[in-house]
């Protein structure tokens, strides 16, 4: 394993923020990245095969934790000699440790979002520089996997998100063996994300969403680590027996069934993540926060699987409470491609 500080940025009244990477690779004659002396191999002896990135936002703790577990696992696999020779796998577990130490989602200095600054600019503002420095190191990999999160406060089923677009076949998100793959038609707001820019620079990109963000969920983390090993195995980057995981259901993101509340109050959820629900089934109640009366019974408009569930104890009118993967996937929505290079066109 080769541990490297990809870049650092000076901080006022605290230590420099160092963004670290961990690279794994062995050569066909048995030398290893990062090993000492004759046993060591140089980075330029490897093809840049797969790159994992997490912690672009400071509250993406579960995402960083998953990458840390991947680092530990890859280190073990490297020792066991099951990495495919000549292929480099790099992990960047935390792009934004300064914000993470502040327990803050966006950049500590100005509250901007590093994942809205890609591919960055080395002479720009701070988060543009962070994005630029990161992208310089992570572009050019064949496969890019970003552990990210949504702004909605709630729990998601573990899933892979792929962006429709030209050039690269991304339907292979199913190779992670997770239960769901969502297909996303890019909009203008996507053009400054890591995923989009990886795709623009010919990396086969995937974004992985996990149940938690600012809390660690061991079960979900373990599931994600297994999914990533399964993907590496499917791409021929490791040679290790992996179980097949699940046969993924692929759906268009806009085909999710939204279920919103129609009044404000205390949100009492009844349906749980992953539950299969029928049309009309009670999913949650909204309770009057002063009188204790049930203001609304939130029911499923159609059958499906609970994919997202709101976690906040208080909801406003129209808060998105659930998203359901409908029982019947509309195949015509999966054919929608959008316009990758000009999403607004």
């Amino acid at each position: 394993m080769r541990e490297e500080t990809l870049f650092s940025i000076a901080m006022p009244y605290r230590q420099d923020m160092k963004v670290k990477s961990f690279s794994f690779g062995v050569t066909s004659d048995g030398r290893t990245l990062g090993a000492d002396g004759d046993a060591g191999a140089r980075v330029d002896e490897f093809e840049n095969a797969a790159c994992f990135v997490a912690g672009v936002r400071g509250n993406e703790i579960q995402q960083t934790y998953i990458c840390a577990r991947i680092v530990r696992k890859l280190r073990k696999l490297e020792t066991e000699g099951v990495l495919t020779p000549g292929q480099r796998i790099m992990v960047v577990p935390c792009v934004n440790p300064a914000s993470m130490n502040n327990r803050k989602r966006f950049w500590v200095g100005d509250n901007t979002d590093v994942n809205r600054m890609m591919p960055g600019y080395d002479l720009g503002e701070t988060t543009q520089r962070i994005a630029g420095a990161l992208f310089e190191h992570v572009k050019g990999f064949r496969y890019g996997i970003h552990f990210s999160s949504f702004y909605l406060e709630g729990d998601f089923m573990d899933h892979v998100r792929v962006m429709s677009g030209p050039g690269i076949q991304t339907d292979n998100g199913a190779d992670f063996g997770l239960a769901y793959v969502s297909r996303h038609v890019p909009g203008s707001f996507d053009t400054t994300t890591l995923h989009y820019n990886w795709r623009l620079w010919d990396t086969e990109a995937y974004t992985l969403y996990t149940k938690e963000t600012d809390l660690v969920d061991e079960e979900s983390a373990a599931s994600m680590v297994r999914a990533c090993l399964r993907f590496l195995d499917a791409r021929g980057l490791i040679d290790r027996p992996c179980h097949g995981g699940m046969r993924a259901t692929v759906f268009a993101e806009r085909g999710l069934t939204p279920v919103s509340v129609s009044c404000g109050g205390v949100f009492r959820r009844i349906a749980q993540l992953g539950d299969t629900v029928s049309a009309g089934q009670l999913l949650a109640e909204v309770i009057d926060p002063l009188r204790g009366e049930v203001l609304e019974e939130v029911r499923a408009p159609q059958g499906g699987v609970v994919f997202f569930v709101c976690r906040t104890p208080l909801v406003n009118e129209q808060t998105l409470a659930f998203q359901l993967v409908p029982r019947r996937i509309r195949q015509e929505q999966l054919l929608e491609r959008g316009n990758f290079l000009d999403p607004e066109a």
Partner: protein
């Protein structure tokens, strides 16, 4: 008349309301109002930008003082993000979400996206609208209007009459499509983005300057028949004429010049200190001769923090 533009129930016994003050000429029937020209004066999308508060007040005050001159509709929306304005929060407090990235909104996604859609629907069709911002807490700005180059033809005649110091025509690539202004212009409702002053503060002089410009626009639009003050001719510039000064180190910035000064190329703009050691970490110089229209107000800086912007000495495309 105070009207509710958008209302959604919050969790505990309160509605989240976006309100506006609609000022109309006396004696006009409801049906006739539809045919009248209309101006929308908008502020408070970012809860920490308060400069528009004085402009809104001043426009309402002057109309109330001389209602006999009103020949069209004036809609004043001082706080599109009421929770943020009240709580010193730039974004929408519950989500830390930038409201100026959710337009044109969607009438089902979330209450805040629905609010955005309600706001766009309410302003759409105005003869002219202004979205008044105050930079942010980090930078102080001269009164200026920023225009997307694809809207230049439609907006420039209005911008030139709005009594700002200059008009900055942005390249299309730098334009953010989730903004209120982009959404309104896309619908064919002209919307000028005003930046002036600094976050969390009021600059009376700028507020009065812009109010003068708004009355000039109202007169041109047939909304105001009263006297208006003569407006200044703004400098017009494109991206290529603006020079940027960014910090390369972390520390404490102290300016050596004042905002709105004419500076010379290589003139010292300020220094970044290390307050712990007493060292000067970086001396910052102007990249060009020109007007220092942006200057950092908030002293703590990181590598990359914007310190100043200098407008080169070209006006209306010609060198002085």
């Amino acid at each position: 008349m105070i009207q509710t533009v958008s209302s959604y129930q919050m969790a505990v016994d309160e509605d989240l309301e976006v309100v506006k003050n609609r000022l109309t000429p006396a004696g006009v029937t409801h049906e006739d109002l539809e045919a009248l020209p209309r101006i929308a004066v908008v502020s408070g999308i970012h809860g920490d930008e308060l400069e528009g508060q004085f402009t809104c007040y001043e426009v309402a005050r002057r109309v109330n003082e001389h209602p006999e001159f009103l020949t069209g509709i004036v809609d004043i929306y001082p706080a599109l993000n009421p929770l943020g304005v009240g709580a010193l929060s730039r974004g929408i407090p519950q989500f830390d979400l930038d409201m100026n990235r959710v337009f044109p909104g969607n009438n089902s996604a979330s209450p805040f996206e629905s609010m955005a859609a309600d706001i766009v629907a309410d302003i759409a069709g105005a003869t002219i609208s202004l979205d008044i911002h105050a930079s942010n807490v980090y930078l102080r700005e001269l009164p200026q209007i920023r225009i997307n180059e694809i809207s230049e033809e439609a907006l420039m005649p209005w911008a030139l009459e709005s009594n700002v110091d200059f008009v900055w025509v942005h390249g299309n690539a730098t334009v953010l499509k989730g903004t209120l202004a982009y959404s309104l212009n896309d619908l064919g409702t002209p919307c000028l983005v005003v930046e002036m002053g600094v976050g969390m503060r009021l600059t009376r002089e700028y507020g009065e300057q812009l109010a003068d410009g708004i009355f000039n626009l109202m007169r041109r639009a047939g909304i105001w028949s009263g006297p208006v003050r003569e407006v200044r001719r703004p400098i017009v510039s494109s991206d290529g004429e603006v020079g940027f000064v960014n910090a390369d180190v972390a520390g404490v910035f102290m300016p050596a010049v004042q905002h709105n000064w004419d500076v010379r190329k290589d003139q010292v703009i300020g220094h970044i200190w290390d307050a712990l050691t007493g060292e000067v970490l970086q001396e910052l110089k102007s990249p060009a001769d020109g007007l220092l229209f942006t200057l950092r107000e908030y002293p703590i800086v990181y590598p990359g923090s914007l310190i100043a912007r200098v407008l080169g000495t070209e006006t209306d495309g010609e060198v002085d």
